[in-house]
């Protein structure tokens, strides 16, 4: 209590009460998930529209034509940015759904872990594929 009193006294500590609670809360990371979900939502809208255009351009092309498009640096960079933005967004989104509906602690932890594994797996697989195509070494 005494320590708490000192902390609250701004003449002792320069940190204001607001500065001490900012970004914290019961989960100790405050609104970071909420904020990241909004930021990635915004980047998703731009990147996924570009993604749709890229896919539409690739439809019906043969293998060499498809590789040629993905190997283009601008296309590859957009694809990489899109997959990073999307996998971050979907990881947080699914975690919220799990935490809302799965109440048994063990199942919840297992589900959140599985969610993280899936998101990382998709991200790494896509990243590896785009880089391999981009660096010109498809088997």
């Amino acid at each position: 209590m005494a320590k708490e009193k000192i902390r609250q006294d701004t003449s002792v500590s320069i940190r204001t009460p607001r500065a001490r609670v900012r970004g914290l809360g019961v989960a100790h990371h405050g609104v970071s998930h909420w904020w990241l979900q909004r930021v990635t939502a915004l980047t998703n809208t731009v990147l996924m529209l570009a993604f749709v255009v890229i896919i539409a351009n690739m439809a019906g092309r043969d293998y060499a034509g498809a590789v040629h498009i993905v190997a283009n640096p601008f296309v590859a960079i957009i694809l990489i940015l899109a997959l990073l933005s999307v996998t971050l967004h979907m990881r947080i989104g699914m975690q919220v759904i799990i935490e809302d509906y799965v109440h048994a602690q063990a199942t919840k932890i297992a589900a959140v872990l599985a969610n993280n594994v899936y998101a990382v797996l998709v991200a790494v697989a896509c990243l590896y594929a785009v880089l391999r195509i981009g660096f010109g070494q498809p088997a």
């Binding site: 539409a56 195509i133 498809p138």
Partner: protein, 133 residues
């Protein structure tokens, strides 16, 4: 004062979802989660497609063959619609984040626009894609 024993009576339970009349905002909120979950699973398809392209012409021919088939195209069409629906639903949330569109008419209009707009955008994307080809 001694604590008196509480009589054990069946406590009334709060009504669950099925008791409420479905509203546009409620339906679109549920649908936003469903579309998000569908897109979540759909990223595996994107990964399979990219990995096939990185693996070589044989692997790519299988995947391209599947996505070019009737079922494949249907999946891509529905996927486009789900993507557009989730995007417009997200933009609706952005409006609410800025404190816009909370009154009855606006939230109803935005909910309807999510559904109508997503169908319209999907048709436009596919029409353009097929025409440009």
């Amino acid at each position: 004062m001694a604590p008196t024993a509480r009589p054990t009576v069946a406590q009334p339970l709060s009504p669950h979802l099925q008791i409420y009349r479905w509203t546009w905002t409620m339906a679109m909120s549920v649908f936003h989660r469903i579309t998000g979950t569908a897109l979540y699973g759909g990223t595996a398809l994107v990964a399979i497609w990219l990995l096939a392209l990185a693996s070589g012409p044989v692997a790519y021919s299988y995947v391209a063959g599947f996505f070019g088939s009737v079922i494949g195209r249907l999946i891509l069409f529905v996927y486009t619609w789900i993507l557009m629906h989730h995007m417009l639903g997200g933009l609706r949330h952005f409006a609410w984040d800025f404190g816009i569109g909370f009154d009855r008419e606006k939230r109803l209009a935005m909910s309807r626009l999510t559904l109508i707009g997503s169908v319209a955008l999907t048709l436009v994307i596919w029409a353009v894609a097929l025409l440009v080809r």
